[in-house]
């Protein structure tokens, strides 16, 4: 079954990290990604540009409006994601708990909706 692991980080905290620390943090991400590729969990994943680059689009009564960013006032922002293949939720939680940001921010695990195809 497929799960999307949404990674929420505190951008401020990441931005204020000394270079040596953020290099080590990125290194952990590379190791983690290699690990889940080898274990067969990995289906995809990307890091996102900071939240100030985001735009939210809504259409109401046929009129489109765009606004700056999602919830700029919240502490943690969506910073990236992994799409993984896991046996069940426990397996997915195991993988998610090893994502480096789980220690600093949080990771939301969402099962992918599978539509029956005839």
């Amino acid at each position: 079954m497929r799960y999307l692991c949404l990674i929420y980080d505190e951008e401020k905290k990441l931005a204020s990290m000394p270079k040596s620390e953020s290099d080590a943090f990125m290194g952990e991400y590379f190791t983690f990604t290699d690990g889940i590729k080898k274990s067969g969990h990995h289906l995809g994943g990307e890091a996102l540009q900071p939240v100030h680059t985001a735009t939210t689009v809504r259409v109401r009564n046929g009129k489109m409006s765009t606004t700056d960013g999602p919830f700029a006032e919240t502490k943690e922002q969506l910073g990236g994601y992994y799409l993984i293949n896991a046996r069940d939720l426990n397996d997915a939680i195991q993988v998610a708990s090893r994502i480096p940001s789980a220690r600093l921010g949080s990771v939301e695990v969402r099962p992918i909706m599978e539509f029956d195809q005839q």
């Binding site: 079954m1 046996r87 069940d88 939720l89 426990n90 397996d91 939680i93 029956d116």
Partner: protein, 418 residues
């Protein structure tokens, strides 16, 4: 005569339902992979027993019979529906492949009950849903009974259960006993649910009566089941704690429903059997050297239980146990209780200093028991005005009628003595 025989079978089926329906359900959930399907199959199996057993005789192993009847009915139903829709067709195909060759082994079936408990108490479910689902599926309480116990509307509670089952299915929460490395944290979640159920029964958080006996009984039953299936020290400790608290039930309230404090309780009313059993369990948990907060709280309850009169309580030992407990569980509520024990050992002034320090940190400002404990110590020190203020503060924060009546009585007593 045939009528009599049919009545006898009906009684037997009822008895089997009471003793075994939860085990049968636990196994059916594993075999069918779905809570709702398994519940339907369980009802079908018992209906089949009511119809079949009077004619064919009672099977040698009723539980195994019910499991295979339930499984058969469910698969049959899926096949019939499969003629009409595609999703059921894939499901029917799955069952034709896998489940047919299952062997009923006692180990696997005992494990099913644990699987059911761990699934209902999965940390991915919200805490109130864990409680509701456990009482519904593991204890077999009806939705109405659970709603009544928690003073909730049945539709609200039913929805909580439906959502939890949907999450188990859609997020695929596995039906399994956690691996060794996950066990400690997952067991904590289960013990937490049992403790919540017991606490709601022991000291109802709101409403007109102080205790709800049914919930305590269910919690103790769950605790026993857990100790039987998974005798981990903290599970043993929790069962001990519940039995030792429960032993004082009769003495905790007057016939009119007023609260009686520990030091004023008629100790001859304490349930000796529960104390003996609870104390033996505490010793067993402590001997393991892998005990935690539940075992330590049980040990404290055991020290109270062994004192023939309140004045004979070994407060030094209780303070010592609170010190250990505070290291294991450094919460302000534990600190508050320790302060009360210190007051009993070293006098009210020592306890009051500790409580004031806790309140000064602002953590227990809205906790009514902190203010009533403070009021009590002020009263003993002769600080009547301060005591009255603290009792009033506690009264503002308490939402439980007997507790409120007790505080009002204390306030009146002070009022007359000033």
């Amino acid at each position: 005569m045939r009528e009599d025989a049919a009545d006898q079978v009906r009684e037997l089926v009822d008895a089997v339902y009471r003793s075994d329906s939860r085990r049968v359900l636990a196994t059916l959930i594993r075999l069918l992979g779905d809570f709702d399907l398994a519940e339907e199959a369980l009802q079908d199996a018992f209906t089949a027993a009511l119809e079949g057993w009077p004619v064919d005789g009672v099977p040698a192993n009723p539980r195994a019979w019910l499991i295979s009847a339930g499984r058969f009915k469910a698969i049959d139903g899926i096949r019939r529906r499969a003629r009409f829709d595609i999703a059921s067709r894939t499901r029917a195909a799955q069952f034709d492949g896998g489940v047919a060759g299952f062997v009923e082994m006692d180990d696997a079936v005992e494990d099913d009950r644990l699987r059911l408990i761990f699934t209902c108490c999965h940390p991915a479910l919200p805490p109130d849903a864990q409680v509701a689902l456990t009482l519904r599926e593991v204890c077999g309480l009806t939705t109405e009974e659970i709603a009544r116990a928690f003073l909730t509307q049945p539709p609200t509670l039913a929805q909580r259960i439906v959502r939890a089952k949907a999450k188990i299915r859609d997020a695929r929460i596995p039906y399994e006993v956690p691996t060794r490395e996950d066990l400690p944290s997952r067991l904590d979640a289960v013990l937490q649910v049992v403790y919540l159920v017991f606490n709601e029964g022991y000291s109802a958080s709101s409403g007109t009566s102080l205790t709800r006996h049914d919930l305590s009984t269910e919690a103790i039953r769950l605790g026993r089941l857990l100790v039987e299936l998974l005798p981990e020290p903290e599970a043993v400790g929790l069962l001990a704690l519940m039995l030792l608290h429960e032993s004082r039930r009769a003495a905790r309230t007057t016939p009119a429903g007023a609260l009686v404090l520990l030091e004023e309780q008629d100790r001859s009313q304490w349930n000796r059997d529960q104390i003996v059993e609870g104390t033996a369990l505490v010793e067993r948990a402590l001997m393991s050297r892998r005990f935690g907060p539940y075992s330590l709280q049980a040990a404290i309850a055991a020290v109270h239980a062994e004192a023939p009169v309140a004045a004979a309580t070994d407060w030094a030992q209780i303070v010592g146990l609170y010190d250990v407990l505070f290291r294991a569980d450094p919460s302000p509520v534990v600190e508050l209780n320790r302060a009360v024990a210190v007051a009993m050992r070293d006098g009210p002034a020592a306890g009051l200093a500790l409580i004031d320090a806790i309140l000064a940190r602002g953590e227990l400002t809205d906790y009514h028991l902190a203010h009533s404990a403070r009021a009590d110590l002020c009263r003993r020190l002769g600080k009547q005005a301060e005591a009255a203020t603290a009792y009033r503060k506690a009264l503002d924060l308490s939402r439980q009628d007997p507790e409120r009546r007790y505080l009002e009585r204390r306030l009146r007593d002070i009022g007359t003595s000033i």
